[in-house]
């Protein structure tokens, strides 16, 4: 066993231990398991949010995207910042409503606001379809990290099985508390490792940040800014806006709002979380540093930039620490996703068939569903295949389709009907699927429009379809009911 493996094994054991300790003799009823009894103060909510938002995508994807695609990667820095800003206004009313009505999941919110359990089931289906590929991404990342950081001594297969078992065990045991406590270790380690690498690599290989960017600019002119065509400023602005809207629509992120003790905790986090975005600056530096040091990674392999450069640069013990941080970045969000998917299945779909079921019963079903969800994700991770990649690309766009129905139920005048909300979500999701499966862009749809419009993120189109269908069905429905009432009135008199 080499030094690197010791570090990785220690990370898995630490996660397991923290995850189990988080329970501390509590009875894990539905309220404790899913939302920690709505008891978290600002620090734990911060850790939980940071723990699930900054995933293997931050670690591998942020650096890989900078390595492979350059300047457009800055969008990642921006969209989260704007999302946190919106959260200040949008989330406190959601939190308050959830507390007053005893809600546990994102789907509960839609079901309660629109008085429709069926809408709740639809929302949870959309959520689960988006969450499973997200979980697969975490497991895939885990496999890649363990394989690279362990110098190939542990293959992807065993790594994924062990990781899934660890997350399943502590989620079943401690629910959201397990995720929050393992996030303590994860955030400390990931932050330290990414900031260190982001400073060390430019210094070590180029003598400084300025020299590094100068070298990259000399080798690839214009690479570190937005290109004139394609991923241009139009693409940038539309993508930042779209992803900012979808940010809190992820069911596990939405659900973690409920754990807050009060609305003030949420506002405090809206102030602090933008600063956490700066971790991406260091992830980008790692990617830019790798361009000239480990050239030639193409396609999906760009995500290996960080690990390849680390293995080339450091002794095994340091690679072990990096690997350990990587393992935690996969486990913490993975555990949140497991818990959320199981809760949605039990609380919003299973309950639909068993309306009389007590919370006690629901939480037992949810816990039993955790290993089931984990197995499905492990299967897709190991089976590989392009379908799951396609699903993942769609996942973010899928959950973004929940945004219009959410905003419209927060306003005072409530003109959106349950049927309208459901039709809008279905139409939006269908549009996303059609766009992705046919590789449509705004340019292929409207070749006659100016280039600027063609470079807009095509996701805006799906959102527009969603809003139009929602409006037509809602207004149409209301007019039809009004006419029915008008006809009935004389008869009833």
């Amino acid at each position: 066993m080499n030094g690197a493996l010791v570090g990785i094994a220690a990370a898995a054991l630490l996660a397991l231990a923290l995850g189990f300790l988080a329970r501390r003799g509590r009875q894990m009823g539905l309220g404790q398991w899913t939302v920690a009894g709505r008891s978290f103060g600002a620090p734990l909510v911060f850790l939980l949010m940071a723990g699930e938002i900054y995933t293997t995508f931050t670690f591998l994807g942020g650096s890989g995207f900078a390595y492979g695609r350059g300047g457009p990667v800055y969008y990642i820095l921006c969209y989260g910042t704007l999302a946190y800003m919106m959260s200040y206004v949008m989330l406190p009313p959601i939190w308050r409503y959830a507390r007053d009505h005893g809600l546990y999941s994102q789907a509960d919110f839609f079901a309660s606001k629109y008085h429709s359990r069926w809408l709740g089931a639809l929302v949870s289906l959309v959520g689960i379809v988006a969450l499973i590929p997200y979980l697969v991404l975490q497991f895939k990342g885990l496999g890649i990290i363990v394989e690279a950081a362990g110098y190939g001594t542990i293959g992807t297969g065993p790594a994924v099985w062990i990781g899934a078992a660890v997350a399943t065990a502590y989620v079943m045991m401690s629910g959201v508390r397990g995720s929050a406590w393992t996030a303590v270790a994860k955030d400390a380690m990931v932050l330290a490792v990414v900031v260190f690498l982001g400073i060390y690599f430019p210094l070590h290989y180029y003598g400084g940040v300025g020299a590094m960017f100068a070298a990259v600019e000399a080798a690839k002119p214009g690479f570190v800014v937005l290109p004139e065509r394609g991923e241009s400023a139009w693409w940038f602005a539309s993508t930042v806006l779209l992803t900012a809207l979808g940010f809190y629509m992820w069911p596990h992120t939405f659900g973690s709002i409920y754990t807050a003790r009060n609305a003030r905790v949420i506002r405090q986090n809206a102030v602090l979380l933008p600063l956490y975005q700066l971790i991406f600056l260091f992830a980008f530096m790692i990617g830019f540093a790798a361009i000239l040091q480990v050239p030639g990674l193409k396609g999906a392999d760009i995500d290996l930039a960080l690990l390849k450069l680390s293995v080339e640069t450091f002794d095994p013990w340091m690679v072990g620490i990096i690997g350990a941080a990587g393992v935690l970045t996969a486990l913490v969000p993975g555990s949140m996703i497991l818990m959320t998917a199981a809760t949605l299945l039990a609380n919003n779909i299973y309950r639909l068939a068993h309306p009389a079921a007590a919370d006690r019963h629901i939480v037992r079903v949810a816990k039993l569903l955790v290993p089931v969800v984990a197995l499905i994700a492990v299967y897709f991770t190991l089976a590989g295949g392009q379908h799951i990649v396609a699903l993942l690309l769609m996942g973010y766009s899928f959950v973004t389709q929940l945004f219009p129905a959410l905003v419209l139920c927060l306003t005072k005048t409530r003109w959106a009907t349950p049927a309208g909300a459901a039709a809008g979500i279905v139409a939006g999701v269908a549009a996303v699927a059609a766009i992705n499966l046919t590789h449509t862009t705004v340019a292929t749809l409207f070749p006659a429009l100016p280039v600027a419009v063609q470079e807009l993120n095509v996701g805006l189109l799906a959102l527009a379809v969603n809003v139009i269908v929602l409006a037509v069905v809602s207004v149409g429905g209301r007019l039809a009911t009004a006419r029915l009432h008008a006809q009935e009135k004389p008869a009833s008199r």
Partner: protein
């Protein structure tokens, strides 16, 4: 003073509209290409603006429930 919340529009303008005019490498700031430095600066400024809004938001005084 809920109007102080209008400050929140600044980061939106800076990050969504800014790149149209500031998509350039030079001048570099602390070694960063200008566009990246602009984004980083606004991440920090966003946090500062949120802190100001938080400080003056009357809902934070009576909303401890």
């Amino acid at each position: 003073m809920r109007t102080i919340r209008l400050l929140a529009l600044l980061p939106f303008a800076a990050l969504l509209i800014g790149p149209f005019f500031l998509n350039r490498v030079e001048p570099t700031i602390l070694g960063l290409p200008f566009l990246l430095a602009w984004c980083v600066a606004w991440v920090v400024l966003t946090s500062a603006i949120m802190a100001i809004i938080f400080r003056f938001d009357p809902t934070n005084r009576d909303d401890l429930s």
